[in-house]
């Protein structure tokens, strides 16, 4: 196993009795990109700062390439960790040129090597010819690339990105995301990215750590997280799912949206088991015949090329469905829909983690 970063049972709180991080354990493999995904205040930035060495853990250990760098009472200072950082607002040094910014971390290198590295970095991020400009003369996207070049120049063993795309407007974000991903893959660097944007996390990460209230609730590939979420929180946090009650009888789960075949690999035992199933909007389809379930449209909203409808079942339970915009349904209209989930996500109604085959 080739792990660059190892966290063992890290805990941290800023006020007594109010833990920000609880018992976090993670391994990050060399050359991979790990995304820490969670809502504001869930502790992901604190985790990043612990890894960088700006905070001291209350419990647990942090190992950087087999070397202990953090534990209660011992913190190797950030300047000795050889870790690159990019902040949300880039934090470029405004009184220095791009050249000086990028070379800031190379002060121990011989002059000739510094010059070569500078040219290399500028080429890597696509900013040749801009070396003598000042940060305020560049656009947001260019500033971000300088921040990246500056962090990568000293060839760090780990790169930390704290919501690097949040400051950019939507159009730029998508484009820059792809460019940055290409740069990082080309540089072959191990990266930890902190974000609250699911789309970003799902598209960039090799491994995803979903954080809720200081715990890592799931640490898996994006595919796994979407198809087999460990907890209700993960299931609801990723995508726009709604839960629907169901009861298992023999080989079927009976729900308001019809009967779903029950397969034993879901790992639930006993009969008349009460469960909650996740309904994702993409899984719902319109249906013209009598087999569909009647629902009423209570809300519509545009999602680009598709429309998101909030539908209400006769029992009053609501869920969402995503239909192409050619389909036009009005508020209050009654339609029939079917639901055929491919990857079924089921939780027992007691809120325990979903048992599934591994």
């Amino acid at each position: 196993m080739n792990s660059v970063l190892s966290l063992h049972q890290i805990s941290k709180s800023f006020q007594p009795g109010v833990p920000v991080l609880r018992d976090i354990s993670l391994q990050v493999e060399a050359g991979t990109m790990v995304c820490l995904l969670g809502q504001s205040g869930c502790g992901k930035t604190t985790l990043l700062r612990l890894v960088a060495g700006f905070e001291e853990p209350d419990a647990g250990e942090i190992y950087l390439i087999k070397r202990l760098v953090s534990r209660p009472g011992l913190v190797v200072p950030p300047e000795q960790r050889h870790i690159g950082m990019v902040f949300q607002d880039y934090a470029l040094f405004p009184h220095m040129t791009i050249n000086q910014n990028i070379q800031f971390g190379l002060f121990r290198w011989p002059a000739a090597w510094r010059r070569t590295r500078l040219t290399e970095m500028l080429r890597l991020v696509g900013l040749e010819g801009m070396a003598e400009r000042y940060p305020h003369e560049l656009s947001g996207g260019q500033q971000q690339r300088v921040a990246l070049a500056r962090a990568l120049a000293p060839a760090p063993q780990l790169l930390l990105l704290d919501e690097p795309f949040s400051n950019l407007d939507v159009h730029l974000r998508q484009q820059l995301r792809e460019e940055v991903q290409a740069i990082l893959v080309q540089a072959g660097i191990t990266t930890i990215l902190v974000t609250h944007d699911q789309e970003e996390a799902l598209s960039l990460a090799d491994t995803l750590a979903v954080i809720d209230q200081g715990h890592v609730v799931q640490y898996a590939t994006p595919d796994e997280v979407v198809r087999r979420p460990h907890t209700r929180f993960v299931a609801q946090f990723i995508g726009l799912g709604h839960f629907l009650r169901g009861a298992i009888r023999d080989a079927c789960i009976t729900t308001e949206l019809g009967e779903i075949p029950y397969t034993s690999d879901l790992g639930l035992t006993g009969d008349s088991w009460q469960v909650d199933l996740l309904v994702r909007p993409e899984q719902v389809q319109l249906c013209n015949n009598q087999h569909g379930t009647p629902v009423q449209v209570v809300h519509t909203s545009f999602r680009g090329t598709r429309k998101l409808y909030t539908l209400r079942l006769p029992s009053g339970v609501t869920f969402c469905a995503l239909f192409p915009s050619e389909v036009v349904l009005r508020l209050g209209e009654s339609v029939r829909v079917t639901w055929r989930p491919v990857d079924l996500v089921v939780f027992p109604q007691q809120d325990a983690p979903a048992p599934h085959a591994d």
Binding site: E79, D89, A91, R108
Partner: protein
Amino acid sequence: MVRHETHQAYVVGVPVKGRFSGWALAAMGIAGLLMVPILAVLSSFMTPAGEVWRHLWRTQLVELITNTVLLLAGVGGGTLVVGTGLAWLVVYHCFPGRAFFEWALILPLAMPAYVLGFVFLGLFDFTGPLQTFLRTTFGQGFRLPNLRSYGGVTLMMTLVFYPYVYLLARAAFRGQGAATLEIARSLGRSPLRAFMLVTLPIARPALVAGVALAMMEALADFGTVATFGYRTLTEAIYRVWYGMFDRTAATQLASGLLCFALGLLLVERTSRGRARFTETYGRGAGVTPTVLRGWQAALAVGACLAVLGPGFLLPIGQLGLWTLDTLQAGQLAPAFGMLLRNTLYLAGLATGVACLMAVVLAYASRLHPSPSVRWSVQCAGLGYALPGSVIAVGVLLPLAWLDHTVVVWLDRVLGRSGGLLLTGSAIGLIFAYVVRFLAVSLQTVDASLTRISPSLDDAARSLGASVSRVLRRVHLPLMRSGLLTALILVFIEVMKEMPATLLLRPFGLNTLAVEVWRRTSEAMWQEAAVPALAIVGAGILPVLLAVRLSARR
């Protein structure tokens, strides 16, 4: 005097070409009036006075200019080191008493330099208690370095003026947030190196502005340099005016001093204009201070006390003791009540006029933001950079002219008997106060007015209110705390003022500051303590205000 940065400035009106505007006219009128003293002093360059200049050059000009430049350099360097160092200590470190020191280090602003000066002389001079004690202990030949020297004056002024640099440096360091510093550390620099390579250069404009303010105060000071026998241009103006009754020479000296002041003003104004040095980053994550323990913490506390102790705690204590002695001995002069009344009367009058003008100027720039109004506001607010002695000379020249021409004519017309009407009255003094301190009230009033969103104006106008109704019912109530602050700040500055008061006051009209001067010029330290304590006591109030205002940011 502390300048606060405004966050958001709303511009309301759109100037319509060719439209008559009472506000704009009023603003220009005020600015014109307040520029008269400066123009009067500058015009003295044009009257041929070659003989006077030659005489000055031969006798003292070189010494005066050298002394002034040395003083500015010494005070500039001293306040830079002390102010920046203390700000660095307080922002980036955690040590016992930090919360207290953070605001307490601003207190020396309440202490006029001349008060600190005479307390030190009273305590540490050759005949003072400390040296007498040391002589009895170590023998008659023992003496400390002479306090009445360049070193002594520079030390006094550094202890009193460093808060200008301290406040601006602290705001600059806080405003940068932690991001740039942390990035510098992640790139391999130690915390101290990171501070020097990144934080200090970015904060440079704020530091330059703070040093410029401290130097302006040093340039304007009269009481300290006179008591210490250190001859600067300001001191020379007074000496030449009263000692030699040489008005022309005094005017020429004032014009020279004015050049220094304008130079400093230029430095201060241009250093603030570098927008790219100030925060392009929002108030992001704040700094996580390093916790100091053991000998490091002791050193930190020691550094703060080494500055605050002599600069504020010691003089307050000594003034208190002297005052108690005076009161117990029943030696409080009956004239003290009269002094207090005079001071309050003059300060009250000047404050009222200054605040009224400030409201007019601030309103004019809100309703009619044309270039001419903007320039008027800039010009009207120049006074804080000008030494009181220069303003005094600049006020006396036109007033004397008026007395000798217009008033004489008026007397003839109205049949009054002759006599100097203007130069002998308090009008000149009030005028000088307003010129000098309008900037203080203008800044405060302007800041509180520009915080009021223009949509309030629009809403009120759409409901049928006229401009004056909007002013009375909407703006003034919202500006109430800002106006109160302005009133207090100007009042205290006028109370402390000495050079212009000495030069312009009508015969017999003495203020607390004048009384301090009269006593200290005869080395009667204890008798000077009561009026001095009154001045300092009153001065603590605006300092606490400034602390509250800066805490709200």
